[in-house]
Subunit: 336 residues, 2 copies
């Protein structure tokens, strides 16, 4: 493997100083056009490009933004990530992405590495384990030296600029949607009861059901997807119980399972049962039936997160801003 050529070697070949080469490469007005051309031509010939690590160290700035994501396989997070990248690039920043697999340990490592001079600031969706353990110190340590923006998952101890989705409103809007259509027996299904976001979604559902006396709410929560499917199918085909008129899926998996269970048992959508849930937007459009869903606007989440971080870079933040993205119910084939 050839070594990359450096400014020093170019200087030697051209018999000029290192400073002259550096200035010429950076188009400094101090340097004559003639010298600039000479330097640039040789640089091109040898395929010289400045060493980024050296430039970063010297300038004490990297134009990198760190992004920490629990799981790329999650379509919502993948779409947020994509938009973080697009927005960052527009503003002249690159992103360096780490994945935590929902683990606290990996999150801590990622934060450490990124904050050691690799990036100007960090956008992070905290891992599930972080919430389970209620362990937030590592964020605060890092935040003293590196600006942090969190997204999607919030907690009162996470006192940073953050962007999240109006989760309560999403669930309430779905329930209200069912109510408007006069649906009385509503089943809440979830495979993420253990996840904090799963807990709040269930809590919101239940509290709605308590205030609405005319409507009955039931819940099925099960982490094992096969069992979840078995339980859902058992419930929707049990004629000895009140008929389920609507299902609310708390996550992509449970929504898919509910949709499949209904289809498999030849139950008719809308006529017999309605369904609203969370979906992979790209795929949902292609499926039959297309499930009515809660749109969380991942584009907006990503864009806003970058905005908050970059503003934060310029002026030290005083008070944490919390941006909340409004969601909407998108009606497709599984509900009126």
């Amino acid at each position: 493997m050839k070594k990359k050529i450096t400014i020093k070697e170019i200087a030697k070949i051209l018999m000029v100083s290192v400073s002259t080469v550096s200035k010429a490469m950076n188009d400094s007005p101090e340097i004559s056009e003639k010298t600039k051309k000479k330097v640039k031509d040789l640089a091109k010939f040898y395929g010289y490009t400045p060493n980024h690590i050296a430039v970063s160290l010297k300038n004490q700035s990297t134009f990198n933004i760190g992004v920490i994501i629990p799981d790329i396989q999650n379509p919502f997070l993948a779409e947020v990530l994509k938009n973080i990248e697009i927005t960052a690039k527009k503003k002249g920043y690159r992103i360096i992405t780490f994945f935590t697999d929902e683990k606290l340990k990996e999150e801590r490592e990622s934060l450490n590495i990124l904050s050691n001079g690799m990036v100007e600031g960090i956008i992070v969706c905290p891992s599930e384990e972080t919430f389970v353990e209620r362990e937030f110190k590592h964020f605060n340590n890092i935040a003293e030296t590196t600006p942090i923006v969190t997204f999607d998952r919030i907690h009162k101890e996470l006192d940073f600029n953050s962007v999240s989705v109006d989760d309560d409103q999403s669930i309430l809007k779905a329930c209200a949607h069912f109510k408007e259509n006069n649906l009385k027996n509503i089943l809440f299904v979830s495979s993420i009861g253990w996840l904090s976001v799963g807990k709040t979604r269930r809590r919101t559902f239940k509290s709605y059901m308590e205030t609405e006396k005319a409507i009955e709410g039931e819940t099925i929560e099960e982490h094992n997807l096969d069992e979840l499917r078995a339980k859902i199918e058992a419930r929707i085909t049990d004629n000895s119980l009140p008929k389920i008129e609507a299902i609310l899926g708390a996550d992509i998996e449970s929504t898919l399972i509910a949709s499949a269970s209904i289809s498999r048992n030849k139950i008719k959508f809308i006529d017999e049962v309605s369904l609203i849930g969370y979906v992979n937007k790209n795929h949902n459009e292609l499926q039959y039936p297309r499930v009515s869903y809660i749109n969380q606007f991942p584009e907006k989440v990503g864009e806003k997160a970058v905005d908050l971080l970059i503003n934060n870079l310029k002026e030290d933040h005083k008070k944490a801003t919390l941006e909340i993205i409004k969601t909407e119910i998108v009606t497709k084939d599984t509900s009126k």
Copy 2:
């Protein structure tokens, strides 16, 4: 924002030299236990961690691997990426990921940035535009100084270590599967005719059909997904034409659309039509019906790519190795 503390400042506080602090932090045997403790305690107190950029510059090694991916929304690529990260981490490397959005320009930029000292080597899935333009020079330039491993998409001008999937065999295996089940009229559907991988899949399908006189092959290719669906539905419901007995989907989108079209028109899977295609494995398991699919083993692709790169780091490569991952047909609900 507080500045991060440096070795120099710790040295000053402790009234020892910078070298002593550095050696103590790195547990050098040259340093007494007493001094080590003193240094480490203070380092901990001030939250000192070594500046990665400086260490990289000094050591001329970063323990970073660059990864360049056309699109994270592609479930296959996302899964490969995940496994690249897992494998790299196991071997003590971090990954820095860039996305090209299938654009040549972005690919070129990503390669430039990564090769300027940021990483030890680069794993890349070349963008579609790169193939369309037949423009591979940028790879060769970079490859002189930075080891490159390509994956998933190959081309004879891309003379690097690479891992790819046995695409021809996949299509042939699916065709053979249909043949074994005595299916005569086979429809190949694709939304990626413009993509090189789409072209080879079609070509392979067609050549199989030519050799098998007893079987009829038809193809529908259409980039616009709504139109693709319209065309597929028109064909499978047209009774004036020979009945389609099996469908082969050339990509995730066309496979989903074919499955949905069949369901929407109440055509029975297996009895009336069989379907094999490419799927998002995680979601496919939850859907009804679960589509029979071609498993490309993204785990293996990711792991192998990292292996090849890391071996390449150690000994300069002489001749490019091409690893081919064998695929398999996984039978689910849409075929025998």
